[in-house]
Amino acid sequence: MTAQPMPRPAHPGPSTPDEPGDRPGVSGRPAGGPESRRAIYDRLVRDNAATLFAFARRMVGEHAAAEDVLQETYVEAWRSLDSLRDPRSGRAWLFAILRHRCARWVRKASRRPRATGAVADVAGSLTQPGPDVVHLLGDRERLQRLLDEMDPRFREALLTVFVEGLTPDEAAKALDIPRGTVLSRCHRARTFLRARLRVLDREET
């Protein structure tokens, strides 16, 4: 018998004798008992933190803010872990929390988005795809500046498909918009990036 070091009530220790899967109030918890609760949380961190951070960083723009948002996301995840019925859907569940947190951060930041609709008016050649765009995407800081300029609705759709990796159908469900809108927003976001990358490249060189 060994005593465990002090209290980590939310951080279960090694064992639970004949518990808790046999209790009606606990059986619905992810994969059984308190130990697995912590194990599930740890796995959610280890498996998803990097991708979630990338999403948050691209969404809120600032490195420190992205970490704050991610901390909030995981604390909320820990608190409501009991509501996660199927640990296999943990990634999508985490992203749902993260999107909500990012949206709140963006609202608080009171940024004035520049409508990507204006990009449609940009003259032809700037919006056409080309190998130069692939090269220009290599400047990650410039890319972030442009994401910061982008309408958050388009940015969110782009990141949901391109970073989270959801299909347009899944993204439509997650964002509560029609599938066609997901595709349209991704298209407009990419068009915006393409044109602005070229404009900035011309201005800065």
């Binding site: 220790g13 004798p17 109030g25 901390q71 080309g130 890319l143």
Partner: protein
């Protein structure tokens, strides 16, 4: 006409290039593109290259050093609210306060719960939640003295399990917290379920040094949305507070049966 058709196709190509490889819509667009002049095919492949590069660029974010470790520690640093869940807390607290208030009205015609009763209600709710949602033990033993000794290292006070009779047997215990204050937790098992006993210093919570046992029924919604009731007895002896939470009234020690 061709120009219009090509314009429409270009628009659809631009959207479809965001679709994952293997998507039927993307495949259909690609099939159409391959029947078109070389210029459109070039544009299609440029879009696909650009989509791949965009995907790579957007995901290329270096996480800060130590991020994973900090996230793993996040639950331990988070305020205690998370352990309880406000909705559950509110429901249970409302029921408990109503019960306490009712008893107070009957006994002394006091219309509002005292500060002591409010604090006890909060602790009782927190303890019931721990009982329902976090019954793990870090020390497995059936020996009360051994448990008290083992928990001693992790507590600022000497744990001393109360006499709970022979109907339930000790399974183990751990150090934890209620309302941010240290608690000795022990888990017991009887024929009809489990009991949890939380032991704490009354002074930590601004409570009096002695209070007679009071019994209440606390309802907690479980993960399936069903509400389960638990029998809870709270008392304070010589500055030591106890909260006993039982799945079933039959698990209560005889001395509390008639409360």
């Amino acid at each position: 006409m061709d120009e219009t058709r090509h314009g429409d196709l270009r628009e659809r190509m631009a959207e479809a290039s965001s679709l994952p490889a293997g998507d039927p819509e993307r495949a259909a667009i690609e099939a159409r593109v391959l029947d078109q002049p070389g210029e459109l095919r070039d544009a299609w492949y440029a879009l696909l290259d650009e989509a791949a590069a965009t995907r790579e660029a957007l995901a290329d974010v270096r996480p800060p050093i130590g991020l994973v470790d900090r996230l793993l520690e996040a639950p331990d640093r988070a305020p205690r609210r998370g352990l309880l869940g406000w909705r559950r807390l509110a429901v249970a607290a409302a029921l408990l306060v109503a019960a306490v208030l009712g008893a107070a009205v009957l006994n002394s015609m006091v219309l509002a719960p005292s500060e002591t009763e409010t604090r006890l209600a909060r602790l009782t709710t927190a303890a019931t939640h721990e009982h329902v949602f976090d019954r793990h033990v870090s020390v497995e033993t059936g020996d009360v003295t051994a448990l008290d000794t083992a928990l001693g290292d992790g507590l600022p006070f000497a744990a001393s399990c109360p006499d709970l009779g022979d109907a339930i047997t000790l399974r183990g215990g751990r150090c934890c917290q209620l309302d941010g204050k240290p608690v000795a937790y022990s888990l017991w098992r009887g024929e009809s379920g489990h009991c949890s006993v939380f032991q704490f210093r009354a002074a930590d919570h601004g409570l009096p040094t002695d209070a007679a046992p009071t019994r209440s029924t606390v309802a907690i919604p479980d993960d399936h949305g069903r509400t389960r009731t638990h029998e809870v007895v709270v008392w304070i002896e010589d500055g030591r507070g106890f909260i006993l939470v039982a799945d079933d009234r039959r698990l209560l020690p005889a001395r509390f049966a008639n409360l």
